[in-house]
Protein backbone atom coordinates (compact mmCIF):
# COMPACT_ATOMS: atom_id res chain seq x y z
CA UNK A 1 0.00 0.00 0.00
CA UNK A 2 1.27 3.44 -0.85
CA UNK A 3 1.81 6.16 1.68
CA UNK A 4 -0.61 9.04 2.20
CA UNK A 5 -3.64 6.84 1.61
CA UNK A 6 -6.93 8.69 2.02
CA UNK A 7 -9.90 6.58 3.02
CA UNK A 8 -13.42 7.10 1.66
CA UNK A 9 -16.33 5.26 3.26
CA UNK A 10 -18.63 3.71 0.67
CA UNK A 11 -22.26 3.10 1.56
CA UNK A 12 -24.49 4.84 -0.95
CA UNK A 13 -24.51 5.70 -4.62
CA UNK A 14 -23.65 9.30 -3.69
CA UNK A 15 -20.40 7.99 -2.13
CA UNK A 16 -19.55 6.50 -5.53
CA UNK A 17 -19.59 10.01 -7.03
CA UNK A 18 -17.55 11.44 -4.16
CA UNK A 19 -14.73 8.89 -4.40
CA UNK A 20 -14.74 9.01 -8.19
CA UNK A 21 -14.30 12.80 -8.01
CA UNK A 22 -11.49 12.44 -5.47
CA UNK A 23 -9.75 9.91 -7.71
CA UNK A 24 -10.11 12.18 -10.70
CA UNK A 25 -8.52 15.08 -8.78
CA UNK A 26 -5.67 12.95 -7.47
CA UNK A 27 -4.95 11.56 -10.95
CA UNK A 28 -4.88 15.10 -12.37
CA UNK A 29 -2.61 16.28 -9.57
CA UNK A 30 -0.20 13.43 -10.34
CA UNK A 31 -0.07 14.50 -13.96
CA UNK A 32 -2.07 11.75 -15.63
CA UNK A 33 -3.31 12.47 -19.16
CA UNK A 34 -6.96 13.35 -19.71
CA UNK A 35 -7.81 9.86 -20.93
CA UNK A 36 -5.99 8.18 -18.04
CA UNK A 37 -7.84 10.42 -15.57
CA UNK A 38 -11.09 9.15 -17.05
CA UNK A 39 -9.86 5.55 -16.95
CA UNK A 40 -8.92 5.84 -13.26
CA UNK A 41 -12.25 7.51 -12.38
CA UNK A 42 -14.17 4.79 -14.22
CA UNK A 43 -12.26 1.97 -12.51
CA UNK A 44 -12.96 3.56 -9.11
CA UNK A 45 -16.62 3.85 -10.04
CA UNK A 46 -16.85 0.13 -10.85
CA UNK A 47 -15.09 -0.92 -7.65
CA UNK A 48 -17.18 1.42 -5.48
CA UNK A 49 -20.37 0.14 -7.04
CA UNK A 50 -19.40 -3.45 -6.32
CA UNK A 51 -19.10 -2.48 -2.67
CA UNK A 52 -22.51 -0.78 -2.57
CA UNK A 53 -24.28 -3.56 -4.47
CA UNK A 54 -22.64 -6.69 -3.04
CA UNK A 55 -21.26 -5.73 0.37
CA UNK A 56 -23.46 -2.74 1.30
CA UNK A 57 -20.53 -0.96 2.91
CA UNK A 58 -16.79 -0.76 2.70
CA UNK A 59 -13.99 1.66 1.95
CA UNK A 60 -11.95 2.88 -0.94
CA UNK A 61 -8.43 4.06 -0.26
CA UNK A 62 -6.62 6.29 -2.70
CA UNK A 63 -2.86 6.66 -2.47
CA UNK A 64 -0.03 8.22 -4.40
CA UNK A 65 2.77 5.84 -5.29
CA UNK A 66 6.34 6.22 -6.30
CA UNK A 67 8.43 3.38 -7.65
CA UNK A 68 11.77 3.86 -9.35
CA UNK A 69 11.10 7.54 -9.92
CA UNK A 70 7.74 6.80 -11.49
CA UNK A 71 4.50 8.17 -10.06
CA UNK A 72 1.39 6.11 -9.76
CA UNK A 73 -2.01 5.95 -8.17
CA UNK A 74 -3.23 3.05 -6.06
CA UNK A 75 -6.87 2.23 -5.50
CA UNK A 76 -7.80 -0.19 -2.72
CA UNK A 77 -11.41 -1.33 -2.46
CA UNK A 78 -12.12 -3.17 0.77
CA UNK A 79 -15.28 -4.65 2.20
CA UNK A 80 -16.40 -7.19 4.76
CA UNK A 81 -19.23 -8.42 2.56
CA UNK A 82 -20.12 -11.94 1.45
CA UNK A 83 -16.88 -12.52 -0.44
CA UNK A 84 -16.48 -14.15 -3.84
CA UNK A 85 -16.67 -17.97 -3.82
CA UNK A 86 -14.94 -18.43 -7.17
CA UNK A 87 -12.53 -15.63 -8.05
CA UNK A 88 -11.39 -17.32 -11.26
CA UNK A 89 -14.99 -17.37 -12.46
CA UNK A 90 -15.60 -13.77 -11.39
CA UNK A 91 -12.51 -12.73 -13.36
CA UNK A 92 -13.77 -14.37 -16.54
CA UNK A 93 -14.99 -12.05 -19.21
CA UNK A 94 -18.60 -12.51 -20.13
CA UNK A 95 -19.40 -13.79 -16.65
CA UNK A 96 -18.98 -10.31 -15.40
CA UNK A 97 -19.05 -7.49 -17.90
CA UNK A 98 -21.79 -5.20 -19.02
CA UNK A 99 -24.86 -7.02 -17.83
CA UNK A 100 -26.51 -6.81 -14.53
CA UNK A 101 -25.10 -9.86 -12.78
CA UNK A 102 -21.42 -9.26 -13.22
CA UNK A 103 -18.90 -7.60 -10.98
CA UNK A 104 -17.15 -5.78 -13.80
CA UNK A 105 -13.84 -7.04 -12.46
CA UNK A 106 -12.24 -8.21 -15.73
CA UNK A 107 -13.02 -4.83 -17.27
CA UNK A 108 -11.57 -2.99 -14.30
CA UNK A 109 -8.42 -5.12 -14.54
CA UNK A 110 -8.06 -4.12 -18.19
CA UNK A 111 -8.32 -0.43 -17.29
CA UNK A 112 -5.54 -0.55 -14.69
CA UNK A 113 -1.87 -1.56 -14.98
CA UNK A 114 -1.82 -3.84 -11.94
CA UNK A 115 -4.67 -5.65 -10.30
CA UNK A 116 -4.79 -7.94 -7.27
CA UNK A 117 -7.81 -9.46 -5.61
CA UNK A 118 -8.24 -11.34 -2.37
CA UNK A 119 -11.55 -12.66 -1.19
CA UNK A 120 -12.81 -15.03 1.45
CA UNK A 121 -16.36 -16.19 1.67
CA UNK A 122 -18.02 -14.63 4.70
CA UNK A 123 -15.09 -12.33 5.37
CA UNK A 124 -14.99 -9.94 2.49
CA UNK A 125 -13.07 -8.82 -0.55
CA UNK A 126 -10.09 -6.56 -1.13
CA UNK A 127 -9.07 -5.36 -4.56
CA UNK A 128 -5.85 -3.39 -5.01
CA UNK A 129 -5.10 -1.86 -8.38
CA UNK A 130 -2.57 0.62 -9.67
CA UNK A 131 -2.12 2.91 -12.62
CA UNK A 132 1.31 4.29 -13.47
CA UNK A 133 2.07 7.58 -15.11
CA UNK A 134 3.17 6.99 -18.69
Amino acid sequence: MGDEAVEYPIRTDADILTVRQAGRELARELGFSGSDVIIVATAISELARNIVVYARRGEILLAKLERGGRAGLEVTARDRGPGIPDIALAMQDGFSTSNSLGLGLPGTRRLMDEFEIESQVGLGTTVVCRKWLR
Binding site: D13, I16, S35, I38, T42, T97, S98, G104, G107, R110
Partner: protein
Protein backbone atom coordinates in the same frame (compact mmCIF):
# COMPACT_ATOMS: atom_id res chain seq x y z
CA UNK B 1 -28.69 16.12 -9.85
CA UNK B 2 -31.90 15.57 -11.77
CA UNK B 3 -31.76 15.70 -15.53
CA UNK B 4 -34.07 18.33 -17.05
CA UNK B 5 -36.30 17.01 -19.83
CA UNK B 6 -37.28 19.53 -22.49
CA UNK B 7 -39.81 19.11 -25.24
CA UNK B 8 -38.97 20.28 -28.71
CA UNK B 9 -41.51 19.46 -31.41
CA UNK B 10 -42.16 15.71 -31.40
CA UNK B 11 -39.01 15.04 -29.36
CA UNK B 12 -37.92 15.01 -25.74
CA UNK B 13 -34.41 16.13 -24.92
CA UNK B 14 -32.76 14.96 -21.72
CA UNK B 15 -29.67 17.05 -21.37
CA UNK B 16 -27.35 15.70 -18.68
CA UNK B 17 -25.85 18.64 -16.79
CA UNK B 18 -23.49 16.97 -14.31
CA UNK B 19 -22.33 13.61 -13.00
CA UNK B 20 -25.30 11.39 -12.14
CA UNK B 21 -25.86 9.09 -9.22
CA UNK B 22 -27.49 5.72 -9.77
CA UNK B 23 -30.68 7.18 -8.30
CA UNK B 24 -30.59 10.05 -10.83
CA UNK B 25 -30.27 7.55 -13.68
CA UNK B 26 -33.16 5.47 -12.40
CA UNK B 27 -35.28 8.63 -12.06
CA UNK B 28 -34.40 9.63 -15.63
CA UNK B 29 -35.46 6.20 -16.89
CA UNK B 30 -38.82 6.43 -15.10
CA UNK B 31 -39.49 10.03 -16.08
CA UNK B 32 -38.74 9.43 -19.74
CA UNK B 33 -40.98 6.36 -19.85
CA UNK B 34 -43.85 8.44 -18.44
CA UNK B 35 -43.12 11.65 -20.32
CA UNK B 36 -43.06 9.89 -23.71
CA UNK B 37 -46.73 9.08 -23.14
CA UNK B 38 -47.72 12.39 -21.59
CA UNK B 39 -46.23 14.45 -24.39
CA UNK B 40 -46.81 11.87 -27.14
CA UNK B 41 -43.17 12.16 -28.15
CA UNK B 42 -41.84 10.28 -31.18
CA UNK B 43 -38.22 10.51 -30.20
CA UNK B 44 -35.95 10.97 -27.22
CA UNK B 45 -32.45 12.42 -27.20
CA UNK B 46 -30.19 11.82 -24.22
CA UNK B 47 -27.22 14.16 -24.41
CA UNK B 48 -24.30 12.80 -22.37
CA UNK B 49 -21.67 15.29 -23.56
CA UNK B 50 -20.75 16.35 -20.00
CA UNK B 51 -20.32 12.81 -18.66
CA UNK B 52 -16.68 11.83 -18.32
CA UNK B 53 -17.44 8.51 -16.63
CA UNK B 54 -19.73 5.96 -18.25
CA UNK B 55 -19.45 2.88 -16.12
CA UNK B 56 -21.36 -0.39 -16.36
CA UNK B 57 -24.38 0.95 -14.50
CA UNK B 58 -24.71 4.14 -16.55
CA UNK B 59 -24.34 2.16 -19.76
CA UNK B 60 -26.94 -0.37 -18.69
CA UNK B 61 -29.36 2.42 -17.75
CA UNK B 62 -28.94 4.13 -21.13
CA UNK B 63 -29.64 0.83 -22.88
CA UNK B 64 -32.69 0.32 -20.66
CA UNK B 65 -33.96 3.84 -21.42
CA UNK B 66 -33.63 3.20 -25.15
CA UNK B 67 -35.47 -0.12 -24.94
CA UNK B 68 -38.23 1.15 -22.66
CA UNK B 69 -38.95 4.24 -24.78
CA UNK B 70 -38.94 2.05 -27.89
CA UNK B 71 -41.61 -0.13 -26.30
CA UNK B 72 -43.53 3.10 -25.65
CA UNK B 73 -43.35 4.00 -29.34
CA UNK B 74 -40.48 6.50 -29.38
CA UNK B 75 -36.94 6.16 -30.67
CA UNK B 76 -34.04 7.08 -28.44
CA UNK B 77 -30.72 8.47 -29.58
CA UNK B 78 -27.77 8.84 -27.21
CA UNK B 79 -25.47 11.65 -28.24
CA UNK B 80 -22.23 13.24 -27.10
CA UNK B 81 -20.17 10.26 -25.91
CA UNK B 82 -16.70 11.82 -25.64
CA UNK B 83 -13.72 10.15 -27.33
CA UNK B 84 -11.90 9.22 -24.10
CA UNK B 85 -15.16 7.94 -22.64
CA UNK B 86 -15.74 5.77 -25.71
CA UNK B 87 -12.22 4.39 -25.42
CA UNK B 88 -12.69 3.58 -21.72
CA UNK B 89 -16.02 1.90 -22.38
CA UNK B 90 -14.46 -0.34 -25.03
CA UNK B 91 -11.69 -1.35 -22.63
CA UNK B 92 -14.25 -2.10 -19.93
CA UNK B 93 -16.17 -4.26 -22.39
CA UNK B 94 -19.22 -1.99 -22.43
CA UNK B 95 -21.25 -1.14 -25.48
CA UNK B 96 -24.45 0.60 -26.47
CA UNK B 97 -25.24 -2.15 -28.95
CA UNK B 98 -28.81 -1.97 -30.16
CA UNK B 99 -29.00 1.71 -29.27
CA UNK B 100 -28.84 4.57 -31.76
CA UNK B 101 -26.00 6.99 -31.14
CA UNK B 102 -25.05 10.32 -32.68
CA UNK B 103 -22.05 12.60 -32.49
CA UNK B 104 -23.90 15.57 -31.04
CA UNK B 105 -27.33 17.12 -30.60
CA UNK B 106 -27.50 18.32 -34.19
CA UNK B 107 -26.78 14.85 -35.57
CA UNK B 108 -29.24 13.32 -33.12
CA UNK B 109 -32.03 15.57 -34.42
CA UNK B 110 -31.12 14.73 -38.01
CA UNK B 111 -31.20 11.01 -37.22
CA UNK B 112 -34.58 11.22 -35.49
CA UNK B 113 -36.02 13.32 -38.33
CA UNK B 114 -34.92 10.68 -40.85
CA UNK B 115 -36.42 7.90 -38.74
CA UNK B 116 -39.69 9.74 -38.26
CA UNK B 117 -39.96 10.46 -41.99
CA UNK B 118 -39.25 6.83 -42.82
CA UNK B 119 -41.95 5.75 -40.39
CA UNK B 120 -44.52 8.14 -41.80
CA UNK B 121 -43.51 7.27 -45.36
CA UNK B 122 -43.84 3.51 -45.03
CA UNK B 123 -46.48 3.26 -42.34
CA UNK B 124 -48.86 5.94 -43.58
CA UNK B 125 -51.34 3.62 -45.40
CA UNK B 126 -52.30 6.40 -47.79
CA UNK B 127 -53.35 8.87 -45.12
Amino acid sequence: MRVPILKQGPYLIASVQSALTDADLLALRDELATEVGRSRARGVIVDVTVLDVMDSFATRMLRTIAHVTQLRGAETVICGVQPEVAFTMVQLGLSLEGVETALDLEEAFALLNRKLQARLGTGGHGR
